[in-house]
């Protein structure tokens, strides 16, 4: 089983839809421990991506993702802009010229994106950031791909891990980003960036499942 270019495009479209649906939710998560704009930032960025997408839809997967990253970089701002911008740019660079992705490709692509986020933002697990959704998601995906699971099963395991990782941010005390300024008061709230990351990987699963 492979993931096609069309599915990647659908994934990005699905991501835009889901983020718009969760705009208020993400912003609300960003209120007690941030500055109440994460949903606004993410939808601004992905709505711009939707405008740009038709102009690159005939390009390869690598180029589509790179354009997505550059568009996010120049439209989101905030902490999440350069981080998600880097994520998609690096992901794209890992699958340059490809028109479809094997499970190994898919893993490599996502892992390259996550590595970029770590390099730029220097977060480590338990800092209460998006990394806390991505790290378990990538471990689960890696194990499933190595075990030979099909794409849907592998992504299902990865999404479950991301969801758990997202929820695990609740008891954490933030050490990166705005939330860190709150010290102990950051405890008890779910990280908005981990939540958007979960929504993004879940959108990939939904796309591949074809729901």
């Amino acid at each position: 089983m492979t993931v096609t270019k069309e599915q990647i495009v659908t994934w990005l479209e699905e991501t835009a839809v889901v983020l718009n649906e969760n705009k208020e939710y993400l912003t609300e998560l960003d209120s007690p421990i941030g500055d109440a704009d994460h949903g606004i930032n993410m939808t601004r960025g992905f709505n711009k991506v939707m405008e740009k997408l038709p102009t690159v839809a005939d390009k390869d997967i690598g180029n589509i993702l790179k354009t997505t990253g550059m568009t996010l970089l120049s439209s989101v701002g905030g902490a999440s802009g350069p981080l998600y911008g880097t994520f998609y740019m690096r992901a794209g660079m890992a699958v340059m010229a490809k028109e479809e992705l094997s499970n190994e490709d898919l893993y490599k692509m996502l892992q390259a994106g996550v590595d970029g986020v770590v390099q730029r933002g220097r977060a480590v697990p338990e800092d209460k950031t998006m990394i806390d959704a991505w790290t378990p998601a990538m471990s689960a995906l890696k194990a499933a791909v190595e075990a030979g699971d099909d794409t849907v099963t592998a992504l299902e395991k990865s999404v479950a891990a991301a969801e758990q990782g997202m929820k695990d941010t609740i008891p954490m005390q933030a050490r990166k980003g705005r939330a860190s300024y709150l010290g102990e008061r950051s405890i008890g709230h779910q990280d908005p960036g981990a939540t958007s990351s979960y929504l993004i990987i879940n959108a990939l699963l939904e796309t591949v499942k074809g729901v």
Binding site: D35, L73, V76, G78, G81, R120, S180, G183
Partner: protein, 357 residues
């Protein structure tokens, strides 16, 4: 939410249009990407000073573009860091051949976006340096946080370094001066009310009728702690103690090494204030607090300094680095040596700050 706006999505754009209409002698505004720049830019042979950050802190930064202060300002959406293309294109527009200095408030978003911009500008052969402002003593432990936030000292640094660029300091001298101003500056803020981000439509946090928030940043982030409302003298006493008794502050920051084209880690230590210091005292409104109440704050600040043998040699009082319509204030104290005072007193001519011309 009641605000003097039209559509929520047009807030920043229309405010900038208003600014451009109001001050054509000082500034021009470029859209797509958005930046405010000096009407007479680029100034040949002068280091270009650029800052930026989320909107909602007006007059900072756009209001400080002009002679003796900034060459360009990059406004993001409200409370959202601007994007690298804004800073990069602003740098291209105002570079007068002597390089570009970015003054960056230490917020993860600002830092990451300015980092990318510095890389882009460098790739284009523009000499670039980037100095972080991280002066907010409300943030205690840099090891377990993103480090102290950049707040009130930013305004003072823009004024002082801006004057140095006019005096034709070279890029390294400007960066050294900016680093020194940041080293000597400490701030703390508090809120009486929350503010409302237009796109969010409701207050960022809830505060009871008898509650105040101590140690806030400038984005409506909640502060260090919540307290019962009390007399202004008591509030100022607490905040001044946090600033004046703050010990040496050590941390590692990333600076751009323009020679080798890479990010390097720099160890910085800010010394505490001590008796005998001469300082600039800056009492700032968060936007909704009128200047009359700032004078009540300043009165106590002056009393405390006098009692501790700290000599206020200059002051600045008013709304300069705000959080939308939030009620509250911040105090910034900056130890001032001869060089700093000389550039503080130098002429400045911007929409938001003006003297000597």
């Amino acid at each position: 939410m009641k605000k003097l706006i039209n559509a929520v999505d047009d807030v920043v754009k229309e405010q900038l249009e208003g600014m451009a209409l109001a001050h054509p002698d000082y500034v021009k505004v470029h859209f797509d990407p958005t930046y405010v720049y000096r009407a007479d830019a680029p100034v040949e042979g002068k280091v270009a000073l650029i800052s930026g950050g989320g909107s909602g802190h007006e007059p900072m930064h756009g209001g400080f573009v002009g002679y003796g202060m900034l060459d360009a300002a990059c406004p993001g959406e409200v409370f959202t860091s601007p994007t690298p293309d804004q800073m990069y294109e602003a740098a291209l527009a105002v570079n007068g051949g002597a390089g570009v200095l970015f003054l960056v408030k230490n917020y993860t978003g600002d830092v990451l976006n300015f980092e990318t911009a510095a890389e882009l500008a460098y790739a284009d052969g523009i000499a670039v340096q980037s100095i972080l402002i991280d002066d907010d003593v409300a943030v205690k432990d840099s090891l377990y946080t993103a480090g102290r936030r950049g707040v009130g000292t930013t305004v003072l640094a823009e004024k002082i370094v801006g004057a140095a660029t006019e005096a034709r300091y070279d890029l390294k001298q400007c960066a050294d001066l900016a680093r020194k101003v940041n080293k000597y500056g400490r701030s703390m803020g508090m809120a009486l009310t929350s503010c409302t981000v237009p796109a969010a439509g409701k207050p960022t946090f809830e505060l009871g009728d008898d509650e105040i928030e101590i140690g806030i940043g400038i984005h409506g982030e909640p502060g260090m702690r919540r307290e019962k409302m009390k007399a202004v003298d008591e509030i100022v006493d607490d905040m001044m103690a946090e600033i004046l008794d703050d010990g040496p502050y050590a941390r590692t920051v990333r600076e751009w090494d323009n020679e080798h084209g890479e990010w390097i880690d720099v160890e910085l230590i800010d010394p505490p204030f001590e008796a005998g210091d001469e300082i600039i005292a800056f009492v700032n409104s968060m936007g909704g607090t009128p200047v009359s109440e700032l004078y009540a704050v300043y009165r106590r600040v002056a009393q405390i300094c006098e009692g501790r043998d700290i000599n206020i040699v200059r002051n600045l009082i008013g709304p300069y680095i705000t959080s939308l319509e939030m009620q509250g204030f911040s105090i910034t104290l900056l130890k001032a040596d001869e060089e700093i005072l000389k550039f503080w007193d130098a002429p400045v001519n911007t929409p938001g700050l003006r003297w000597g011309v």
